[in-house]
C-alpha cells in the first residue's frame, strides 16, 4: 500500500503528461498554465506555508526568472537558462529576505511589498537587460538544439519541472532543515530554544523558494515569449498568495489545487456564461465571483481546497465497508492545520 502511495504521484504526472500530448493547443495551454502557476505556488508555499514568512514579492520574483531566462535563452543557453533563472531569483529572494532576519510577521510582509515595487521599477528602467517598457522578446526555449514551441511540448516540460520541484520539496521537508522550518513557523523563540539556527533556516527557505519561483518565471517567459513589466505586477503576487490560501497553505495538495482553481476559474465562469447565453453579464461578475469565493473560503474553510478534498476522500472512504476502520483512526487523530504530512 505504501509503495502504491509513493508511486501514485509520479504515475499521476505521467498520465497527465501523456494526456497533454493528446490535447489540442488550448487544452495543453491550460495544462502548462496550471503547472507553471503550481510551481510558483509551491515555491511560495515553502516560504509562507512551511516557514511562516508572508511574501508579496512573488510576482516580481517570477519576473526576475522570466527576464533572466529570456536573456540567457536568447544568448543560446538552452535548458540552462531555466537553471540560471532559478539562481537569479534565489539570489534576489535572499536579498529581499535578509531584512527578515530582523523583521517578523506584518513588518516583513511590508518589506516584501516594497521589494515588489522596487523590482517593478527596475524592470522598467534597466533597459539593457529588460528592454524597458517595450518588454523583452524571448526566443523559443531550445532543448537539445531544437526549439520547444508547441503547447503540448511546453505542457510536458512544465509538468516535468513541477514534478521535480514537488519531489525536491518533499525530500527537503524530511530533512532537518525542513523540520526546522516548521518549528520556525510555529514559534521562533521555541526554535531558538531547541538550538535551531533561525537565521540560517530562513535563508534556506528564501533561497529554495526563490529558486523554484525563478524556474516558474522562466517558464512564463518561454511560454508567453514576452517579458514586460506589466506582466509581473502586484496583482500577480496577489494571485499567487490567493493560490496557497484557496488551496490550503502548508499542505502538499494546496499549491496544485489553488493553482488550478485560480487559473481555471475565469475559464469556467466564461464557459458557464456561454452555455446559458449570459456571457456578457458574467464578464463583469467574473472578478467579483473570484473575490467572493476567496472570502467564502476564508470564512468557511480556511484550510482551503485541500481540506475539502480530504473530507471528500474520507466521505467516499466511509462508503466503502473495508476502509471504515482506517477512517475512524484518522478521525481520532486529526492533523493540525498546515501539517505538511497531510
Amino acid at each position: 500500500m505504501a509503495t502504491l502511495r509513493k508511486l501514485a504521484v509520479p504515475i499521476l504526472f505521467l498520465v497527465t503528461m501523456l494526456a497533454s500530448l493528446t490535447l489540442g493547443r488550448f487544452g495543453a495551454y491550460l495544462v502548462h498554465s496550471v503547472a507553471i502557476a503550481a510551481i510558483g505556488a509551491l515555491g511560495l508555499n515553502l516560504l509562507t506555508g512551511f516557514c511562516g514568512q508572508i511574501s508579496f514579492a512573488q510576482g516580481a520574483l517570477l519576473g526576475v526568472g522570466a527576464y533572466t531566462a529570456g536573456n540567457l535563452g536568447n544568448a543560446g543557453w538552452g535548458i540552462w537558462a531555466i537553471v540560471g533563472a532559478g539562481v537569479a531569483s534565489a539570489m534576489t529572494s535572499l536579498a529581499i529576505g535578509l531584512p527578515a532576519l530582523r523583521l517578523r510577521g506584518l513588518y516583513y510582509a511590508i518589506a516584501t511589498l516594497a521589494a515588489q515595487f522596487i523590482l517593478e521599477y527596475l524592470f522598467k528602467i534597466l533597459e539593457p537587460i529588460t528592454n524597458g517598457i517595450s518588454g523583452l522578446l524571448i526566443q523559443p526555449l531550445k532543448l537539445f538544439g531544437r526549439p520547444v514551441v508547441g503547447d503540448q511540448a511546453l505542457a510536458v516540460l512544465s509538468l516535468a519541472l513541477l514534478l521535480a520541484a514537488y519531489s525536491f520539496l518533499r525530500w527537503l521537508m524530511k530533512t532537518n532543515v525542513g523540520r526546522a522550518m516548521l518549528i520556525v513557523r510555529e514559534n521562533e523563540l521555541v526554535a531558538k530554544g531547541m538550538g535551531i539556527d533561525v537565521a540560517r533556516t530562513k535563508i534556506w527557505a528564501f533561497v529554495t523558494s526563490g529558486f523554484i519561483t525563478g524556474v516558474a518565471g522562466a517558464m512564463i517567459g518561454f511560454t508567453t515569449r514576452l517579458a514586460n513589466p506589466e506582466a509581473f505586477q502586484l496583482s500577480l503576487s496577489v494571485d499567487q498568495v490567493a493560490m496557497i490560501i484557496v488551496g490550503g497553505q502548508g499542505t502538499w495538495a494546496g499549491p496544485f489545487l489553488g493553482a488550478a482553481f485560480v487559473v481555471l476559474l475565469p475559464e469556467a465562469i466564461q464557459r458557464t456564461g456561454e452555455a446559458f447565453d449570459i456571457a456578457r453579464l458574467l464578464f463583469a461578475l467574473r472578478d467579483m465571483a473570484f473575490g467572493l469565493l476567496i472570502i467564502l473560503f476564508l470564512l468557511f474553510e480556511p484550510r482551503g481546497l485541500s481540506a475539502l478534498l480530504r473530507r471528500l476522500v474520507r466521505w467516499v472512504s466511509s462508503l466503502l465497508p473495508s476502509t471504515r476502520t482506517s477512517v475512524l483512526t484518522v478521525k481520532s487523530h486529526p492533523s493540525p492545520p498546515g501539517d505538511p504530512n497531510e
Partner: protein
C-alpha cells in the same frame, strides 16, 4: 497493409494536418477589454461583433453563409489574451481573429504568422505592422507614431514652435514617443522638443507634472495616452492655468467622455480623428441604425465605428476568398485562412460606408490618413482636411 487501410490512414493524417470546417458557417473571434483598464474604448470590440450580427440578420451572412462571431473578454491581461488566441485558433476554428492589446499583438505576431491565421488588432503599434515579416497581421489605421506626426504637423501649420510630449509609463505610452524622438521628425518639422514627461499610467493627480510643463512655455503639448489619463491631464491643466487649446491627443482621446466630464476644461482640446463619429451622416451609420432597431448598441462612440469598420474589412476579405473558391467555403481551414489573408491584403479602395476614406490594405494598415477634431460646445468637430501621415 492493404490499399483501403492505407487510404484511410492517409485521409486521417490529412484531416489532422488540416482540419476541415463546417461548410455552412464561418467562425470569427473577437476579443477586447470588456472589463479592465481600457474598457472605456471597448466599443471597438462590440462594433466588430455587432457588424457580423448585422450581416446575419440583414444580408444572410457573408456570401450566403452565416457568421458565428464569438466575443470574449481579454481583460487587458497578456496571459488571458494568449489563452483566448489559442481557443480561437484551436477550438473555435476561427478564420479571422480580431485581437486587442499592443502587448498581445507583439507576443503573438510570430505565432500568428506560423499558424497562418488572419489577425487584425486594435493596436496601432508600428512594431506589428510589417507585411513581409508578419504577413497575417493587420491594423486599421495610421500607427501611433503617424498619428503623432499628423498632430504635430497640424500644430506646426498653426504656428507652434515649442512642443512637450506627455506619455504614460507603459508600452503604449513610451514606445511610440521613443520611435518618434529617435527618428528626428520633430526637429525636421522645425519644432523644438522642450520636454518629454512620463507619468504613471494609473496616476490620479498630475498637477506637479503640469506645473513643470507650464514652466517650459510650450505652444503645443501632445499626449500619448488613453482617455482616463487625458481626463486627469486636462483637469489638472485647468488647475495650473494651462488652456486645453494647447493639448493634442491621439485617436484614443476622441472619446465623448472627455467633454462630457470636463465641460469647459475640455473646450478647444484637439484629438486625432481617423474614423467618422457615431451619428455622422454616412451610409455606415444607416447600417448601424438598422442594427439598432433590433438590437442593443452597447457603446455609441467613435470606437464603435472603428469596430464596425474592422468588421467590414474582415467580411470583405472573407467574402472575396469565398468568391475565389467558386462561392463555397473551402473545406481546408488552413487554405481558407491563407486565402482570406491574401484577399484582405488585396483589398483596394474598399468602401467602408464613409467611416474613413476608401481603404487599400496592401500596407496592412488600410488608411494612413487622419485629421484633427476639436472640442466645440461640448462636441468634437472636424477641423482641417485629411493629412496623410506617411
Amino acid at each position: 497493409m492493404n490499399r483501403t487501410v492505407r487510404s484511410a490512414l492517409l485521409a486521417a493524417l490529412l484531416c489532422i494536418a488540416s482540419p476541415a470546417i463546417a461548410a455552412d458557417t464561418i467562425n470569427v473571434c473577437v476579443w477586447g477589454t470588456i472589463t479592465g483598464p481600457d474598457a472605456l474604448v471597448n466599443g471597438m470590440s462590440y462594433g466588430t461583433h455587432d457588424y457580423f450580427t448585422y450581416l446575419n440578420q440583414n444580408k444572410g451572412g457573408i456570401a450566403g453563409f452565416k457568421v458565428n462571431s464569438l466575443l470574449l473578454d481579454g481583460r487587458y491581461k497578456l496571459d488571458e489574451e494568449l489563452k483566448i488566441y489559442r481557443r480561437c485558433v484551436d477550438q473555435e476554428n476561427a478564420v479571422f481573429i480580431n485581437g486587442w492589446s499592443t502587448g498581445a499583438a507583439k507576443a503573438l505576431r510570430e505565432t500568428v504568422t506560423q499558424d497562418g491565421v488572419p489577425f487584425i488588432s486594435e493596436t496601432f503599434s508600428s512594431e506589428v505592422v510589417d507585411p513581409v515579416k508578419y504577413p497575417y497581421v493587420f491594423v486599421a489605421g495610421p500607427t501611433y507614431e503617424q498619428q503623432m506626426l499628423v498632430g504635430l504637423r497640424a500644430a506646426k501649420a498653426a504656428g507652434a514652435k515649442k512642443v512637450v510630449l506627455m506619455h504614460g509609463d507603459n508600452e503604449y505610452g513610451r514606445g511610440p514617443v521613443t520611435v518618434v524622438r529617435k527618428s528626428g521628425e520633430i526637429e525636421k518639422m522645425g519644432l523644438e522638443l522642450v520636454d518629454a514627461i512620463e507619468f504613471k499610467y494609473d496616476a490620479q493627480d498630475l498637477t506637479a507634472q503640469l506645473l513643470r510643463v507650464k514652466s517650459k512655455k510650450p505652444d503645443v503639448i501632445y499626449i500619448q495616452s488613453s482617455t482616463p489619463q487625458t481626463l486627469v491631464i486636462l483637469r489638472d491643466a485647468a488647475k495650473v492655468g494651462l488652456p486645453p487649446t494647447k493639448f493634442i491627443g491621439n485617436m484614443y482621446n476622441i472619446s465623448p467622455t472627455i467633454p462630457q466630464q470636463l465641460g469647459a476644461a475640455a473646450e478647444g482640446f484637439r484629438a486625432i480623428q481617423i474614423y467618422a463619429d457615431y451619428g455622422a451622416d454616412i451610409p455606415a451609420m444607416k447600417e448601424i441604425l438598422t442594427f439598432k432597431a433590433k438590437n442593443e448598441v452597447a457603446k455609441q462612440d467613435v470606437y464603435y465605428m472603428k469596430g464596425w469598420l474592422e468588421g467590414k474589412v474582415m467580411a470583405a476579405g472573407i467574402e472575396n476568398a469565398i468568391k475565389k473558391n467558386g462561392g463555397k467555403v473551402p473545406a481546408d481551414l488552413k487554405a481558407f485562412r491563407k486565402s482570406i489573408r491574401d484577399e484582405t491584403e488585396a483589398l483596394k479602395n474598399l468602401d467602408v460606408g464613409g467611416i474613413t476614406p476608401p481603404l487599400t490594405f496592401a500596407n496592412h494598415q488600410g488608411s494612413t490618413q487622419a485629421r484633427m477634431a476639436k472640442v466645440k460646445n461640448g462636441h468634437y468637430v472636424s477641423v482641417g482636411s485629411w493629412i496623410d501621415a506617411r
